[in-house]
């Protein structure tokens, strides 16, 4: 059990660092989605399945989706200009 807890903590730390280190917003939305999933697994491991469900639904699906749609609109406004990223 302690192995599971330590590894899920390390996974959350690694995924969180990965979100910060990803510079391209498009890639970042996908990495943030993965981070939301990992965070949900952590809540589940710590016996909070109610919170885990909310976290996975919002953090892994809804939030990245809104970011992706907003990015699509920003790109449509700015055309193919890549310098303002």
């Amino acid at each position: 059990m302690i192995v599971l807890e330590v590894s899920v903590f390390l996974l959350v730390a690694a995924a969180g660092t990965a979100v910060v280190l990803t510079r391209d917003p498009l890639n970042q939305a996908i990495v943030a989605s993965f981070y939301g999933l990992v965070l949900g697994i952590m809540f589940f491991v710590y016996q909070a399945p109610d919170v885990a469900l909310s976290q996975i639904a919002v953090g892994a699906v809804a939030l990245p989706l809104m970011i992706l749609l907003a990015l699509a609109k920003v790109r449509a406004l700015g055309g193919d200009r890549r310098d303002d990223r």
Binding site: V58, V61, M66, K73
Partner: protein, 254 residues
């Protein structure tokens, strides 16, 4: 401020914040040790008192039902705010989305995405309904199930086209689901007042714990919240898709 100086300021701030964090962590109770009496009391009395197998639901939709009403209206207000912000502005025009226009051609969805999306749609909607309706029995409830249900709308868009989504779930119906869900929570609360008890009092028959029809008003509240959350998220999806696909500014690249 030069980068070197900035880095030094950051390192000092990070060291102070880190020290405070470690100091705070050492003061935490040990893992698995629970000090407060409330959780223990709830674990002992909640199932017997409210016949809800999921004590978390008994807290969020009964003992602390009014907090959840506030939470529901936070989401309602947020969706409303997004809808107002993303409406078509004066200098913007609405055009048919690329896939609907004769002179433009949108890149088609790959067959793999279509097949997987359509295959997932049924199970996702069923799972959403299950999570909403079993909130008082097992983890889940209106909020989680509502988002799962809204994911169904996303799958329709991903595996079909924007126009398919509009046909499957018209905006009027979505608006109605969201507002009925929000008003329904207050209505269930007023039932308590009408029955001579307090606002949001659990006045419906409680039944036996573990049964689908049990825990009085808790499953009803889960239903209305599920309706509100699903409607709200689909509405959010609409507003963003409309901004991305339909509304154009003069000179905007599509």
């Amino acid at each position: 401020m030069t980068p070197a100086l900035r880095r030094r300021v950051f390192l000092v701030a990070a060291a102070v914040a880190g020290a405070l964090l470690v100091w705070g962590l050492t003061g935490l109770p040990d893992y698995g040790v629970y000090a407060g009496p409330y959780g223990d009391v709830l674990n002992q009395v909640a199932v017997a008192e409210r016949k809800a197998a999921n004590v978390v639901a008994a807290v969020t939709f009964d003992y602390r039902g009014i907090d959840t009403m506030g939470e529901e209206f936070i989401l309602f207000a947020a969706v409303l705010g997004v809808a107002i912000l993303l409406r078509a502005q004066r200098d913007e025009t609405e055009q048919p989305p690329d896939e609907d226009a004769a002179d433009r051609h949108a890149p088609g969805t790959s067959n793999a995405v279509r097949v997987v999306g359509l295959a997932l749609l049924g199970p996702v909607v069923l799972f959403g309904i299950y999570v909403v309706t079993h909130g008082h029995l097992s983890p889940g409830g209106g909020f989680q199930g509502g988002v799962v249900l809204a994911t169904g709308a996303l799958l329709v868009y991903l595996s079909g086209e924007y126009v398919t989504l509009r046909r499957v779930s018209p905006e009027l119906l979505t608006d109605l689901a969201e507002s009925t869900g929000a008003a329904g929570y207050v209505a269930v609360g007023l039932v308590g007042v009408a029955a001579g008890a307090t606002f949001l009092a659990n006045v419906l028959p409680l039944g036996q714990p573990g049964m689908l029809l049990s825990a009085g008003t808790i499953p009803v509240l889960n239903l209305v919240v599920g309706l509100e959350v699903a409607g709200g998220f689909v509405l959010l999806l609409y507003e963003f898709l409309e901004q991305t696909l339909v509304i154009r500014r003069p000179g905007e690249v599509t």
